[in-house]
Amino acid sequence: WDEPIIFELSDPGSRGILIAPPEDDVKAAAEGELLPAALKRLKLPALPEIAQPQVLRHFLRLSQETMGQDINIDIGLGTCTMKYSPKINEQFVRNPKLTEMHPLQDPASAQGILKLMYDFEQLIKEISGMDAFSFQPAGGGAGIYSNAAILKKYFEERGEAEQRTQVITTILSHPLDSAAPATCGFEVITLMPDECGYPSLESLKAVLSEKTAGIFITNPEDTGVFNPIIKQFIDEVHKVGGLCICDMADYNGMLGIIRPREMGADMCHFNLHKSFSSPHGCMGPACAAQGVTAELAKYLPIPRVTFDGKTYGLDYGEEHSVGKIRQFHGVVAAVVRAYAWVMSLGADGLKTVAETAILNNNYMMKRLIEEVRGISIPWSEVECHRLEQVRYSWEQLYRDTGVCSDDINRRMQDFGFQRFFPSHHPLIVAEPYTPEPTESYSKADIDEYVEALKHISNEAYENPEVVKTAPHRGSISNVPNNTIENPEDLCVTWRVYKRKNNLA
């Protein structure tokens, strides 16, 4: 489709939907103007005016130009855990019994959803080993932030807030394990990996002190490398009085195998829109289930769901809580989906998820390394243990052919695949590539995906131009010059674009 911008479809005067006028009595009750002149909008907003079929067609076409997990073998987006979101769960969240619920209804009229939230808390407590959960954070970042907020509050209540100002993380933990504590006011110390792909215990010890508030750590790291001495890490942090916050966003390879409790975590978060199958929705709405130990439970955001053996309720007690991280109860729809997903699988099913994710990844890793020219795995010299994902490098291919990771990425689309995720910043691995073949893909899917990479690698060696100029079969072709120097050149609205281009 060569679909115009929605404003270009406007026919002044057309209507996409009509609004009922107020009832006659309601209208009659008005005396004079309802708005003082000072408040009245003088000119209607310049929204487009389009009849309904044309609006529908426009957005349907845009949807077809979008590569959701449902429609492609979405192995490329590593660290994102692109897995199947069962369609039955969408029926649940689209049920008016959920959609028409106001978050401030009296709990007496919300017993269904409160029960479900309460029950899911019991499930995820067992899955994680943690003692209490909040589902209020509406995304992974918010989950980390909420943990940082508890960390702060915890030391405030202990009178150590002034002292414990430092947070430690690793460079290959998710960037938000650094950014969210920083936003919360902590000073962040970042550890670098050694030759195994994770920091040494010594490097950790070197930065621990009475200033240490805690450590925020992703394990496996962003690279898929699992830090096997995580427990020692955590023990060391505990020794200096700090808390340990485990980022379990990418938990898919560990369900039923490894729990934050056994690692020694004081806090953690799980992204329900990743391992627990709530769909990603073009980047949200999402939910981070924030789990803490019993000692820290009182600090969780309010309200918390309660159960007295008969009735479900809400506790709005503010005394110790960090307060609000998101309005109301968070993205409850994600909790509904995650609940349904866990209930559909049970203990054996969850472990099968993890083991299959690990198997898929290791199978693919073997094929890629053995069959695709120019690819390699950093930190695999000693031994190469990976769970559910791997960060590869196209450095060799780039040196050999001049084709870089980004070129390959654009070329993947021509084979009907979503782009791949290269790496978070900073780019420690050169020409990075981080796929994650979750349990939702069949062996045939993985094989098809590997074949495409082989094909592209061969192209790079034989006919690099075709890769460099990709995509060739996408909605648009290569768009160069996509960066701006001057922030005031930013053009994120049609009105600005029109002005710059002298359009009507």
Partner: protein
């Protein structure tokens, strides 16, 4: 035989074996055997028996949700930040599309359609707000409000933010959670609900980063002194940030017209179901000036054109963000509410300018009607008169000798009506409740409420 899980293709026994063989191992456990035993769970998870059949699962979950009593089944006057507006069918159609529902972070080429929809969201919001720069939406309005305040600090380096006492307590709490290392200064309001300008003057100082207001206020009345507040804030060198309800902007002046520098709020009213609070999403808008643009934590989807005339969309100036700069980035940025951005774009496209105007008018008429009718009930007092209110207003029951809690319980149990939010605990307004009407509220429902209140208060 092992269960062959429908969601897990390679739980297929034969294929699993084939893959294990190709790796030369006997079990998946061999792959993760390098992980120390002390870290591993040495028993199966103690979870309830699964409902492997989809039909069982459906019966189970539907059964749980059936215990809810919804705003569609009852009559609801709840608002306070989450609103029961009509959601056009086309919004549900588009956000239910598999492609949008299950896409994620694909960029320019592969997710061209998604990116265009994002750009259209920011462009449509730009028109509604009459502002040039709008970011990818964040978790909720409270998040965007927090960023508005922190952005002010980043711009002028000042530490205090002034917020009015007629702010939502939940919003206030969340701002407090996010705006760490800043100082909150409250400013009061007058009996008519308008901000106390004199007090504001006294509080403004050279450490004021910004003045923040909600308009409509949390109590539903409109703040009429926007321009004066803007002038005072600007005179003190502070930013002026306004939290505005997008559903009001078809009839009410956008904050940019009375001097707002930063505008924020929640997009839930424009196309999202309430879903027990799942539908929230925060927008943030400013002018296109460097000091603002570089201080957004969010994605900014810019449009570019190639020499074939094809347009593409990129995340612009990504070096600002925490994804690029980790702890040095502007706040933190995570997965937010992309699907709601697309939905709001559909909503605004289908509503158009006339739709937004009629929506606003409808609500103005309804609140006016409801207020008049309720004010006539003995034992009831309307607060913040004679200010004009939009969608919400506060009823005080002190004269009736009854508590809001009592009244709401009777309303719910006897009349199947969800009364307004109880304000008696946090706001110092005695036994008061915040009532909300939308275009979905019918005259008959308002009349029914009045009859019920009359009866209850006379008992």
């Amino acid at each position: 035989m092992a269960i062959q899980y429908p969601y897990i293709p390679n739980s297929n026994t034969d294929i699993k074996q084939e893959m294990l063989d190709s790796l030369g191992i006997k079990s998946v456990e061999e792959i993760y055997s390098f992980i120390p035993q002390e870290l591993r769970l040495d028993r199966p998870l103690a979870l309830p028996a699964p409902m492997l059949a989809e039909s069982d699962l459906k019966r189970h979950v539907d059964g749980i949700l059936a215990a809810n009593r919804t705003c569609g089944e009852s009559i609801s006057f709840l608002g306070a930040g989450c609103y029961d507006h009509y959601v056009p069918a086309i919004c549900d159609e588009i956000n239910g599309r598999s492609e949008f529902l299950t896409a994620y972070s694909g960029d320019t080429y592969v997710d061209h359609g998604k990116n265009q929809a994002f750009f259209e969201f920011t462009s449509l919001m730009g028109e509604l707000l009459d502002m040039d720069c709008v970011s990818f939406p964040t978790y909720d309005g409270a998040s965007s409000a927090s960023t508005a305040i922190m952005m002010s600090r980043r711009i002028n380096g000042r530490k205090q933010y002034i917020i009015p006492r007629n702010i939502s307590h939940e919003l206030d709490m969340q701002i407090t959670s996010y705006c760490v290392n800043m100082e909150k200064v409250y400013v009061g309001y007058r009996a008519d609900g308008q901000l106390d300008l004199e007090e504001l003057k006294g509080k403004l100082c050279e450490d004021t980063a910004c003045v923040f207001i909600q308009n409509p206020t949390f109590f539903g009345n409109l703040e009429e002194q926007g321009q004066q507040i803007a002038d005072l804030a600007h005179a003190a060198g502070a930013q002026f940030a306004v939290y505005a309800d997008p559903s009001s902007l078809g009839v009410i002046k956008p904050p940019a017209h009375y001097g707002a520098d930063i505008v924020c709020g929640d997009i839930q009213p424009i196309g999202m179901h309430m879903s027990y609070g799942s539908g929230m999403g925060g927008y943030l808008a400013t002018h296109v000036k460097a000091e603002y643009v570089l201080n957004y934590p969010h994605h900014l989807y810019g449009i570019f054109e190639n020499d074939k005339g094809e347009r593409g969309y990129f995340r612009s100036l990504p070096e600002r963000t925490s994804y690029y700069r980790r702890a040095e980035g502007v706040e933190f940025l995570g997965t937010c509410v992309g699907l709601w951005a697309i939905t709001a774009a559909v909503y605004l496209s289908v509503m158009g300018p006339k739709g937004m105007e009629e929506l606003g008018e409808n609500i103005l008429y309804k609140s006016n009607y409801a207020k008049k009718k309720i004010a006539a009930i003995p034992g009831v007092k309307l607060l913040f008169q004679p200010s004009v209110s939009f969608k919400e207003f506060v009823i005080n029951f002190d004269d009736s000798g009854k508590s809001v809690d009592e009244i709401n319980t009777v309303l719910r149990e006897r009349y199947d009506i969800f009364g307004g939010l109880d304000l008696s605990k946090k706001y110092g307004l005695g036994q008061s409740a915040l009532y909300c009407v939308t275009e979905k509220t019918s005259q008959a429902q308002i009349d029914k409420l009045c009859t019920a209140l009359k009866t209850i208060l006379a008992e």
